[in-house]
Structures are given as C-alpha cells and as structure tokens.
Symmetry: C2
Subunit: 305 residues, 2 copies
C-alpha cells in the first residue's frame, strides 16, 4: 500500500514530442485524486492507461499557457458523455473561466454535473482547498504569466492507540477520541497516565509540492521545506541557461538546487524541452547537486512509501 | 509514388479509447496537404508520427462536436511556437470562429501567421475551395448538429504528349499547351492531324470523399458516385441500430450500402464506437455488402495507386 501515488500523464513542455505530451498529472492521497494541470491529450492518456478517476473532484491549473489547460474541454465533455455526476471544481486564474464558459456552454450544454471555477491569485500564497484530510496551498512562481505551484499537505493524523494499555486500564470507548488527540487519562483512583503511555505518534503527514512552470526562485524554499516529494520543472540544461532565463524556466541544476536547499525527500524533474533529445542528461546534471532525483516519464506511476 | 496519401491521426468516436483518438486525418494530393477534422490529440499524434506539415495550409472541420475540433488551439499554438509563417485557412461552420477567436487572442496573441476562418454552410452543397489543381465541395450530412462531409477532387489534367510524334511532325514548342488541352494540329502542307494521334488521355482525376459524422443518407450517393476512395463513418454495428438512429450515426452495413450504391473504388470505415471492443466485427459486417473495405486505424497510412 502506498501513502500517495503520482501518475504522470504528460511531462513535456509546450511542444509535444514523440515521447512527451504536455503537462498533466494525477496525485492520489487520502483516498482522493487531484488532477494537476491538463494539457492536450490528458484524457487520451487517461483512457490509454485505463486510469479510473472516480475520486477526482478537483483540478488545479498552474497557469494559462495552452500546454497546461488545452485538455480541459475534451476531458469535461467526455466525463459528460460517461454520465459522471460528481461536481467538478477547477482552481485556476480567473481568466480560465472567462475563456472556458463559452466553450462549455456550446459544447457541453447539458452536463450531468456542475463545473465550478474557483478563482485563485497565483501571486499570493493562499490556502485554496481545505477538507478533513488535505490542505492545498498556492506557491507563487516566476514565469511570463501569473503562475503558481501547489503544495498538497496531508493533515496531522490521530495518534495510534495502544490497545493493550486501553484494555488494561479499562478506559471507556467514549474517551478514545480525546486520547487520540493527545489527552492524558486519570484513573478512578486518581492516577494520571500521560498520553505517551497510551498512544504512539502518528506518521508524519505526507507533503507533495508541484512547481511548474518557473524560473529559478529560491524564495519558494521556506514554503516547501522538507516535503516528501518535490516535482520541479527542468525545461533546460545549464548549457541552455540563456533560454531558461529568457523564458523563465529552470535548468536541471537549478531544480536540484531548490531540492537541496529545501532538503526534500525526493525530487522528480519534468517539463522537458523538445530540444534536448537525451533526457538522461537532465538526470545527470541534477544528480550532481541532489542525488535522490528521478526523471518524470509519460505514463510513469510513482508510489510513495 | 502515390497519387494520394491518407494518414489517419484518429478514428475513434466521441470518447477516446486505448487504441483510438478522436477524429483527424491528413489527405495529401496534388502536392498539398489537407487536414480534415481536428480532435484532441491531433498535434500529439502528428509529432509522434513525425508527420511533416509544410504543405498544410487548409483545415476542414465537418461539424462542431468537440471530438472533431478540440485539437485546434493546441495545433495552432504549436505552429506559432515553431515559427510557421504560412497563413492557415480553416473552413468550418461560422460558430467555430466565434468560439475560437477569444482562445487564439488570449493564448496565441502574436502568431507569425494569420488564421483565416472561412464560414461554410454545412446544409448546402457548395464548392468551398478551388485552386489550380484541386476543388473541395461540401457534402451535406445528417447529424444532430449542422454537419457536412467533404469531396476532394483533382482537376482534369492535361493530355500526355506523344513526344516521338511531335518531333516527327516538327510541331513547335509554343503549340504544345494547346495540344495538351486537346487541340488538333494542321501541318504546313495542310494535313489535319487529330489530337488523338498526338496525345494519350490523362489519368482520371483522383477523388476522395469524407463522410463523418452522419446517419444513413443515400441522398449523398449522386455526389460521391464513383469516387476512388470513400471514408464513411461506421460508429456502430447493425445490432446497435437503435443507437445509430438515435444519435444519427451509421452502422458498418449502412456505410457499405452507401459505398455499393455509389460504386466507389474503395471504402475506408472509421469513427468507431468505444462500445465495440473487436473492430474486426465492423469489417466483417461491411464486407458482406461491399468487399473492398478497409478499417481505419490510428496512425495508419493509406497510399492510393
């Protein structure tokens, strides 16, 4: 069993190549699925992979370049034809709704579900999604149009009850929730049993940060400090640094520097330029700075823990 | 050498499957390329096939269901980034321009070429494209929204000069064009040489008809009579005839009946429903009525002659 699963639907950059479609990935954690970016072909790849999306209620769009959002009309239209009934929540810059509404009204007039746009401000660090188990925040990035990454954080879990101890002390069932939250227990004869004797600590909450597209921006480091997994774009190599600076993208080395500074558990790099034919070069360049790095690949599935 | 080439980019129906993307195909004839329909993923498949599109100036959209046009923004955007300079002409129902202009203005603000929309009336049989070598006409079809097929016709070619005869009679170079067009020749001593002794007849002009999406419509037969190749949709099997009637699509048998009535040279069927898992069943059903039939397949290339 994995704590989180990441399915790469596309990890190319603006121009699709023989191996890479434009951006799109599904993050699965806490029994929910989150679609992050939706370039052209995302629904095609989902179908080719037979990816089930029954728990996918939310889509997060980092910015409004076509390679990150042109797949939305087709995906929504297909879900309509497949009689999806769960409402769909899209978190994106407000212009997306302006652009998409006429398309949806025309092509998807009688959807059996609602499409609800949530306008986000990519320039601010905000909590944009918050439920019982997961919180999602924006990570303001540096790109040619307003762009943000997304930090997905599992909420702190309850402490694990030591069952034998509960039985031994005859603690009633009704008291368990408080103890799971950290409460101590006082026995009938007045003895105080500290929580640490009754419970074990929960696992550390899982945290995933998605940072694409962006020029090198060390200012994001405090926000993503210590995440389990960082996906960071790596459009170019250091030898293409001029292009990286001009188009506000990162090199593999820059992605690795961010991972090292933020001391993340694992780095995945993607959003590769079509101009680099041997993608192992991205890996080699990043590894020099941060060893625990993996190349994204279209249709690759990462299971964490 | 082929007289015409057809590259299938997608031959599925509305919902993409593991094998089939939505509609799109490139017809190559008379040294020109025509893109017919542009469902989501057309540009991705073009790139995967390394299809060169240097002679692709025109796109023909049969109707405005998403599986026939959602690939346009991505394709146009990518051509912009690849510094295409040739203007692009899109022939489609007028609503396409209304829907696409805001998308192009926003996402493709500084294209190095013009996108020119030509509004067609799918309910009328009209010549919509006409140049030195090719003519394209609409074929009004029967579908839930205004829809037309397209008839691509090579123009009549010049007759072939019999070189030995020209030399023997000392016919001057300046007279050749008229003779290629069918003129007779009078020698200096007044003898009339009939054109049939000076030339051989040209090849019959190549004709290709694309008919998707449509319910069974025998009224199109006179217009497509004797075409070399007919692409006809075959969304369903006869056992799904109810669905075919309800959604105004054709069965494989109905496609074959149209091919037989129009006495076409070759039938290609496509636009297969995701509900039929074994596509050989379409072939078997059609073959009973019209033997020279082939299944379309994504990425299949048909060379004619």
């Amino acid at each position: 069993m994995y704590r989180a699963r990441l399915t790469i639907l596309g990890c190319g950059s603006a121009v699709p190549t023989i191996t890479n479609n434009p951006s799109g990935q599904v993050l699965e954690m806490c029994n929910k699925q989150f679609l992050i970016d939706c370039g052209e072909g995302v629904q095609n790849t989902m179908r080719q992979m037979a990816l089930r999306t029954a728990r996918l209620y939310t889509i997060f769009i980092s910015h409004l370049h076509g390679d990150h959002c042109f797949g939305l009309p087709g995906l929504i239209s297909t879900w309509g034809m497949m009689n999806r009934t769960q409402d769909l929540h899209i978190f994106a810059h407000k212009d997306l709704e302006t652009l998409m509404r006429p398309i949806l009204d025309y092509h998807c007039a009688h959807l059996p579900f609602e499409v609800i746009f949530h306008h986000i401000d990519p320039r601010r660090k905000n909590i944009i999604f918050d439920d019982r188990t997961v919180q999602v925040s924006t990570i303001p990035l540096r790109h040619s149009v307003p762009t943000c990454g997304f930090l997905f954080e599992e909420k702190a879990r309850n402490r694990h009850i030591i069952k034998a101890k509960i039985d031994e002390l005859h603690i009633p069932y009704a008291a368990i929730p408080d103890i799971q939250q950290g409460a101590d227990w006082t026995t009938e004869d007045g003895r105080l049993i500290p929580n640490a004797e009754l419970t074990l600590p929960p696992k550390q909450p899982f945290r995933y940060a998605y940072c694409s597209d962006t020029g090198y921006k060390p200012a994001i480091v405090p926000q993503i400090q210590g995440v389990d997994v960082l996906f960071h774009e790596s459009t170019y190599l250091e030898e293409q640094r001029d292009a990286a600076d001009r188009y506000q993208h990162s090199t593999a080395k820059q992605a690795a520097k961010i991972a090292a500074k933020a001391d993340v558990g694992q780095l995945i790099i993607g959003h590769f330029s079509a101009r680099v034919l041997d993608q192992q070069r991205f890996l080699a360049e990043a590894k020099e700075v941060f060893p625990n790095v993996t190349l994204a690949e279209d249709r690759k599935v990462f299971d964490f823990e």
